[in-house]
């Protein structure tokens, strides 16, 4: 490229590119990257919005390690994620396979499975709370008809309350991941199944040798998205139990909201946020490395 004019064209294009990029990049820097840096900084301070942040070093982190409510929220978050993530993925895959088969009304069922992803979890959680109400709830009523109803209602006991918010979490997201798996299933060439059939493979063998390896891209993406969504759980807990009973459903985001924002303990809340962030990053990295090694390309 010896011509000066080419440089001008390239320069003009670079200027144009930056004009297109600048507004979005600036907004993201100000409202995503900067708050991240600021969270890290505030976690080393004591700050309540009224006075400027005061540097306290590792004080928040030291307090956090000995704080039962942080340990509790951490355990609840990990428990929630450890149950909801694999259950959601397994159900989504099973549903995708069932909804890939031919049967009457398939389109309607696909839509019905997907609709919970579109609607507001907070709003539907009000309905879930009513359905489980100890006195007036329809589900409580049905459960007691078969002798299964918890006496004070499912949301009043720690174990069943956690199970209920977990079930709602699965219900909300399973349709979204089902769609991703369904797209993956539809992109598997059918001659692979025919070849397996000729080799006399059973249904289970076909699933393990063809379906699962060829879905590894979707599985990786779905696992990471489902795990991140689980670690961030908030809506149904806020509405159905508000972290109770006896903090048995209080997760890290619920705790950040209660301590960090409602009680204006910005410094301490930021330290808890950093724990949440590290948890999510560590988990995504582990999953990425795990699946990265097992990636199948063809």
């Amino acid at each position: 490229m010896r011509f000066g004019s080419v440089h001008t064209v390239a320069g003009r294009q670079a200027r144009a590119a930056w004009m297109f990029l600048a507004p979005g990049l600036l907004l993201l820097t100000l409202f995503t990257a900067w708050p991240l840096v600021r969270t890290a900084y505030l976690s080393f301070t004591e700050y309540s919005l009224l006075t400027p942040p005061e540097w306290v070093g590792l004080e928040n982190y030291r307090a956090l390690l000995g704080d039962d409510q942080v340990t509790n929220a951490f355990q609840n978050t990990v428990l929630y994620a450890a149950v909801v993530t694999p259950v959601t993925i397994a159900l989504a895959l099973a549903l995708a396979m069932a909804l890939n088969a031919r049967f009457f009304g398939r389109g309607i069922v696909r839509t019905a499975v997907f609709v919970p992803f579109v609607v507001s979890l907070a709003v539907v959680s009000i309905a879930f709370r009513f359905l489980l109400d100890p006195n007036y709830g329809l589900v409580t009523h049905w459960l007691s008809a078969v002798g299964l109803a918890p006496t004070q209602g499912a949301l009043a006991q720690p174990g069943t309350a956690m199970a209920a918010v977990m079930a709602v979490g699965v219900w909300k997201n399973v349709g979204f991941y089902m769609v991703m798996f369904l797209a993956g299933l539809q992109s598997i060439p059918s001659d692979l199944y025919e070849a397996a059939q000729l080799d006399g493979a059973s249904r289970l063998q076909k699933f393990r040798a063809v379906t699962l390896p060829l879905l590894s891209n979707q599985t990786m993406l779905v696992s990471i998205l489902a795990a991140i969504a689980s670690f961030q759980v908030f809506d149904q807990i806020k509405v159905m139990t508000n972290g109770g009973p006896a903090m048995s459903t209080e997760t890290l985001v619920v705790l950040v909201n209660r301590v960090g924002i409602s009680n204006l303990e910005f410094g301490y809340g930021s330290a808890v946020s950093v724990v949440l962030l590290l948890l999510i990053l560590a988990f995504s990295l582990v999953q990425y490395l795990y699946f990265g090694r097992r990636q199948v390309r063809y």
Binding site: Q13, A14, A16, A17, M19, F20, L21, P23, G24, L25, L28, F31, T32, A33, L36, R38, T39, L42, L49, L95, A98, L99, F104, A112, V113, F114, V115, P116, V118, S120, L121, A122, V123, V124, S125, I126, A127, F130, Y136, L138, W171, G175, M180, L182, A183, N217, L221, Q232, F234, K238, V253, V256, N257, G260, I261, F266, G269, S273, L276, I280
Partner: protein, 283 residues
């Protein structure tokens, strides 16, 4: 499976399998929409019946009183307006900025492009829940606390949206813009006249993503509004549900009215939306 089956046995086994699959999937479909169906039915029950010790699925007396009472029981029109302004503005602004940034990253070569793209990917991984304290603080120090604008502005660009649009623009044929460049059209004109008309399916998908995410969001509006008047529908209804635990019929009428626009929006562009999700999953 080496069972020796006659063709007719095989056929009837197949039919039995299809019938049981159909029945099982119909059951699953009903289970998935049950909470929504129950909400709709309960919204039509008189309050005494909605909070009855022997509840039924269907109303024994149908009434519209909940749908008229909700507008005065809480500032429902105000909540509705806030939600439409919030979700609508975020959708429009974010679509504009995401599309422009995605276009720059996909169709231009310039210094700093790789760095900018990596920055977008890193920001894609930061959940807003984890940075909500400084976000709250920042919006207040900009003087936008307790305003709908304060809720909108931090959401007016979205890292996922930029990434999504970049992927879309990358997949378009090369040299689409060359002819226009040779004709001497300026870059803005090329973007709006040549490229934008091709992006409709991507914009619909991303638009519904943004709209439903913000329409449904609970934490951000809850944090950003001290009073029910400044809240959006999910936050307002959640606050109301926290105070008035027994007005079931009323709350369900509010819930149904809050859910309807989104379900309609989704049903209208269902095909585009689901294809959009499916293709993001593959790439």
């Amino acid at each position: 499976m080496t069972l020796d089956l006659s063709p007719s046995t095989h056929r009837s086994l197949r039919r039995a399998w299809t019938i049981s699959l159909t029945v099982a999937m119909a059951g699953i479909g009903l289970l998935m929409i049950f909470p929504i169906v129950w909400s709709v039915l309960t919204a039509f029950k008189p309050n005494a019946e909605a909070a009855s010790a022997s509840p039924t699925l269907f109303p024994q007396t149908w009434t519209l009183e909940n749908f008229t009472a909700i507008w005065s029981a809480i500032p429902f029109a105000q909540l509705y307006g806030n939600t439409i302004i919030f979700a609508g503005s975020v959708m429009v602004l974010s679509l504009a900025f995401d599309t422009m940034a995605g276009y720059a990253l996909a169709r231009f070569d310039f210094r700093g492009k790789t760095a900018a793209f990596i920055a977008i990917i890193v920001m894609l991984m930061i959940p807003y829940q984890a940075v909500i304290i400084p976000l709250y603080d920042l919006v207040h120090s900009l003087g936008l606390g307790q305003t709908v604008a304060g809720m909108i502005v931090p959401r007016s660009a979205n890292a996922f949206g930029v990434f999504f649009m970049r992927q879309f623009f990358l997949a378009l044929p090369k040299n689409l813009e060359e002819a226009a460049r040779i004709d001497g059209a300026n870059e803005w004109r090329i973007f709006t006249r040549v490229m934008l008309p091709l992006t409709t399916p991507a914009l619909l998908t991303l638009g519904l993503f943004h709209f439903q995410f913000n329409w449904n969001d609970l934490l951000w509006p809850l944090v950003m509004s001290n009073t029910i008047d400044g809240a959006t529908l999910p936050a307002g209804l959640a606050l109301f549900a926290g105070q008035h635990v027994v007005e079931y019929g009323l709350l369900m009428a509010g819930s149904v009215l809050a859910l309807i626009p989104l379900i309609l929006f989704f049903l209208l562009i269902q095909r585009t939306f689901v294809t959009g999700i499916a293709t993001t999953g593959i790439k």
